[in-house]
């Protein structure tokens, strides 16, 4: 475990939160997209995407050390990683009455994406705050190392 272990962990979290932010940007940008995918010759609206995170596994030596009960890095994690970006197939599309729309059906209804801007805003705040929290952790980590360098001054 190097002295920069904590920093690497924080870096992985920052990367994950950035990706969350990118996915939210995509959802917000596609709030009116009716032609995201061509299914059986018909255009389907954009589906809301969401990010799934999972803890980052270590390398082989980590596993070996943990299995053998070495005191070093026994339960210290290695960070986080994005396991999946999946589409929300649960929430139905919003049906909007707009006969002039190019993708309207015979009755004049258009299937709009299942993106809820309010939900996206909440996720946005969550991602921003998590990012900030991780930056704070990084700064605390750095302050600790800098303090250690003052030992014996």
């Amino acid at each position: 475990m190097s002295i920069f272990h904590g920093m690497n962990t924080t870096a992985s979290a920052l990367t994950a939160q950035r990706l969350r932010m990118d996915v939210i940007s995509s959802n917000m940008a596609n709030v009116d997209t009716t032609r995201a995918k061509l299914v059986d010759g018909e255009w389907q609206a954009y589906r809301r995407k969401s990010v799934t995170l999972k803890p980052l596994d270590g390398n082989f030596s980590n596993f070996l050390n943990v299995a053998m009960g070495s005191s070093d890095n026994r339960s210290v994690g290695n960070g986080v990683k994005v396991s999946d970006v999946k589409e929300d197939t649960e929430t139905p599309f919003k049906l909007v009455y707009d006969p002039t729309h190019i993708d309207a059906d015979e009755d004049g209804y258009v299937e709009m994406p299942n993106v809820d801007p309010l939900k996206e805003m909440v996720d946005l705040i969550s991602a921003t705050r998590s990012y900030e929290a991780n930056v704070t952790v990084f700064n605390a980590n750095k302050a600790m190392l800098s303090k250690a360098l003052e030992i014996g001054k």
């Binding site: 002295i3 920052l14 050390n65 750095k142 800098s146 014996g152």
Partner: protein
């Protein structure tokens, strides 16, 4: 012929055992020189990594801003640690030179 069973061995058996043999002053000096050299090299490596990351960022490469910042902070801490050690070494040298003969 009896075959001994394979037992799970301790990590301490894998880890290098500290050498108990005594070093001559010249050997100790060479060891210290090597150690210092590798330490300074690793600091240089981190500086280089930071430089590469910065260049990649300004050239519009596929790298996150925080990764660049973290690389620069890591190299800064490594450099500060090196400076701290250098100060101690110079201090020790001066202490020796101040000895009355």
């Amino acid at each position: 012929m009896a075959i001994e069973s394979v037992s799970l061995f301790n990590p301490s058996q894998i880890n290098p055992v500290s050498t108990t043999s005594k070093l001559s002053p010249s050997e100790a000096q060479a060891d210290f020189g090597d150690f210092l050299k590798t330490a300074i090299q690793s600091v240089n490596e981190s500086q280089k990594a930071s430089d590469v990351a910065t260049e990649k960022l300004i050239n519009g490469g596929n790298i996150e801003l925080h990764d660049v910042m973290i690389a620069s902070q890591k190299s800064s801490i490594s450099l500060n640690a090196t400076l701290e050690i250098r100060n101690k070494v110079v201090e020790a040298y001066q202490e020796i030179m101040r000895m009355q003969v």
